[in-house]
Point group: C2
């Protein structure tokens, strides 16, 4: 995937010279050659073979500029990471072998914040937890949007990968502006109104005046984003979570048809998250080795038994209602009406009910035999996510096929968890959603994996589907099997008209060609990065 054609990249005397200069500019403690640390960043949740000769850790925009100038001088490719929590998509492993890792984690300052105008301006090393704590300490009435990735993941990193969360601000790239970017040649620029000195609207208006360039620096290798303003939402007067399940596997289509009009007419202001049984089970527990008598993939009859036993459906959805009590009540009424006859259980939950339910869990268990406390334990982080509170609970599902329980401090890379995310997008109507799910399920099962699938109604018209290929990297041959499955799935999805919204750092070459676009992108790349030193190949289809 390295398009420079040079074999000396990332090694040899040029690298030595670059390392010397980086040490001189950033301090020797910020140029890391420790083999254990290099091995760690070379490890993803799947077999990603690219080697990392060094890690450099700039502490400021000026140091990023210096670092890139040095990279250009010695033609050493670099690969930037912010939080490094790109789970399922390649973690911290670069897009090409020999890239020095440009770790932006030290740039972790919150630069600006406005309670009135509801935004925060951050550097790329700022984590979800940091912003969440910042808001709590200030007793702010604002919420951030969080992804389920990890409290340690970077807001900037997620936004430039165009990730999504669960609140009305769930589509992250729609809620950021005023970027500062260091170009591959080391020059810096700002976008939107932020480019004008003294402008008051840099963090408040996305387009600015003239060509809107922010999109160039998302899912690309054209620049390193070193600052970004992120919009925050006011905590609503009242909040309720909703959960519903459907026991029939055929239930997805009618659910999507019921929800789309409510998204389109603004009644549902946030993403709706719909998970299949495999997805839910992998969140509830690890692989039921005993019930499956050691076989994989999970036999259908075991899954059916577990669905009954653990009280979840073939389809399981969650979302939030935000507003005044009257607004939430009306949304509840409309949702209830729309889902009537299409779901088997529909539950609304607010903070008070969650507290009460916790108190009566024991009683409930006595009466029904269902251990509600376990469900509540799992519901709480999800309800938190709907309120923008980050959690690493969803990460536990990456331990699905492990034979030992997840440790207290999860680290999927370190622990050999196998996780590959494939994320096609489908129109938000019944037939294509079903077709996509059938295609993905058939493919994964045939390759011996459980098709854990979620569909998130990220916008009014489309569903982002996350297909998880989850396995145990410590079982020999599984890495290869998983990658083969992933590649076949990608091929079939593109052929069926379902391109993905996001690619792993290792799979840009799998993007199908689109001549006009690719040609423009390549000429922009040559213009802005003539030495091809920034994340070679990232999000560029193979030529």
């Amino acid at each position: 995937m390295d398009s420079s054609g040079s074999t000396s990249l990332g090694s040899g005397p040029h690298l030595e010279m670059a390392l010397d200069q980086w040490r001189a500019e950033l301090g020797p403690e910020n140029v890391i050659l420790d083999p254990a640390r290099l091995r760690a960043v070379e490890t993803a949740t799947f077999g990603a073979g690219n080697s990392v000769p060094a890690i450099v850790r700039p502490g400021s925009r000026a140091e990023v500029q210096q670092a890139l100038r040095i990279a250009n001088a010695w033609r050493i490719p670099v690969y930037p990471v912010s939080g490094g929590c790109n789970w399922g998509y390649g973690s911290r492993v670069p897009s090409a072998s020999g890239c020095v890792l440009l770790d932006l984690g030290r740039m972790n300052r919150i630069l600006d914040f406005s309670e009135d105008l509801a935004y925060i301006t951050v550097e790329p090393g700022v984590t979800q937890r940091q912003v969440c704590d910042f808001l709590r300490e200030r007793k702010s009435a604002l919420w951030m949007d969080a992804t389920g990735a990890s409290p340690l993941s970077s807001l900037v990193g997620n936004a430039v990968e165009r990730g999504f969360g669960h609140t009305p601000y769930g589509d992250h790239f729609s809620h950021v502006c005023g970027m500062e970017v260091v170009l591959p040649n080391g020059e810096a620029m700002e976008t939107g109104f932020a480019r004008f000195e003294g402008a008051r609207t840099g963090p408040l208006h996305r387009w600015g005046v003239g060509a809107y360039l922010d999109g160039l620096f998302t899912q690309s290798n054209l620049g390193v984003v070193t600052r970004m303003s992120i919009w925050l939402m006011p905590a609503p007067a009242y909040f309720q979570a909703y959960f519903f399940t459907c026991d029939s596997e055929e239930g997805l289509g009618p659910i999507v048809e019921a929800l789309r009009p409510l998204r389109l007419n603004g009644t549902l202001r946030s993403t709706v998250h719909i998970a299949n049984d495999y997805k839910v089970l992998s969140g509830l527990q690890q692989y039921p080795w005993e019930e499956a008598e050691g076989r994989t993939p999970l036999p259908a009859e075991v899954m059916k038994r577990l669905r009954k036993q653990l009280h979840f459906g073939a389809w399981n959805a969650s979302g939030g209602l935000y507003g005044t009590r009257a607004q939430v009540a009306e949304a509840r009424r409309l949702l209830r009406r729309a889902l009537s006859g299409k779901v088997d259980r529909l539950q609304f939950l607010d903070e008070r009910m969650l507290r009460l339910a916790g108190r009566f869990a024991g009683l409930y268990r006595m009466l029904t035999g269902w251990d509600l406390s376990r469900t509540l334990e799992l519901a709480r982080p999800l309800v938190g996510l709907l309120q923008g509170i980050p959690t690493d609970q969803p990460l536990a599902s990456s331990y699905w096929r492990k034979r030992t329980p997840p440790p207290a401090a999860t680290d999927p890379d370190r622990d050999g968890c196998g996780l590959l995310w494939c994320s096609p997008v489908t129109p938000a109507n019944a037939a294509p959603a079903k077709e996509l799910v059938d295609l993905a399920s058939e493919t994964l099962l045939r390759h011996g994996f459980e098709p854990a699938i979620s569909l998130t109604m990220i916008t009014e018209r489309s569903l982002a589907c996350i297909v998880s290929i989850t396995y145990d990297r410590q079982v020999a041959g599984e890495d290869e099997k998983a990658w083969a499955c992933y590649e076949e799935l990608l091929r079939r999805l593109y052929a069926a008209g379902f391109p993905c919204y996001r690619m792993t750092s290792q799979s840009s070459a799998n993007l199908p060609p689109s001549p006009g676009y690719d040609g423009v992108l390549r000429s922009l790349k040559r213009t802005l990065d003539p030495n091809q030193i920034l994340a070679p190949g990232r999000y560029l289809a193979a030529e």
Copy 2:
């Protein structure tokens, strides 16, 4: 502003050769040299001196490609227009002298439409009226968003200029995707998922995968957009317009502070339009020459008298509430509470009330002396705009300083109406909004113009302010006075931190420099348009 440095542009033997080839490719009837038609497109609503040697009218994407290849071969600059209704910002006049006008008006096909998924795919010549009629004929339950520019203005043209309207889909560029673009060299490309053959999500998802390039082709001279999908909104179950006025000139700040939280929390889902007294008066009638005893600008005491007489305030706002009856009722309650004590009149109006009021206008007049029918006549198009129905009523205000009434078929260019729009953006809070209005008012009055100002809460955090410099071009010296006023206003706005969201085709050189951004934009321009043939100088700050 023409950065090519060549003096032969747009004239001489090269032009003749190009014209011959255009005739051969597009048909002689689509290459226009008729002096009257050339004079018409060289005319804007202010003194825009650029000459147009010819108009070429491609009828398809392939013909646009051919037209641009020929332009490159003979180094003839071209300037694309869609509907040509860029009133106040330069109409159809090119950004540089000698540009051939690339009139896309013949490309007026509606290419795709989905009632379920609520979008329409159009070519650049498709007008607001056309889409409105298309939806009506199909008895569609979808609404478009309309600007007040004209029923004949282009949806694509407005979106690439990042214009705005009045419904929840008012921020146009936020509601479009899947562009087809012809690059300056004649190559074509598609954006978003539309770039992949057979993808089903091209019109449904804005970002696609990989760098998001759509923004490059808005407010720029990097490509000609030949197709675009535009999202439509479902007609709400119930709709109400609201109007409020405030008699105090100091009332703007408190109003903005009251509205911002309602925009931020999603209660107000659409733009709110706030107009000062000058703006309202110029919509109600022409300049009151008699009352002002021939003097300009309008004396303050005359304005105060007219406010009382015609029942409008120092500040006057309008907006729409969309939803079920219960959702609208709750929004109404919250709006009423937020504005309590801050406005002098607050009125809600739905279709039924509008019909009733029309019936009782005569009685009302008898009782109050106020001619309600005139108000209703003016309210109806505004209420229509809030429902996405285009109108040219706002255009009548460009005849403000004329001494003869506007004709039935208005045409501000032809009729010598003077109109220059300056459109700074301010944070949506009290102090800067007031500061901006004071700055603009003082500047216009000092130059002898009435400061007709509107502020539109286009997003939750910012107000787009349109300052109209309205005059009579047939009065000698007024063009020069207006331009001097405009340039001083721009300078002062930038110095005060209020950059504009949009520039006239003649004023890109007035953009203040922003070295990093400008450098990138220039290198992109050189890469994509090495012969500088597309709209030279447009949205590029002077070097």
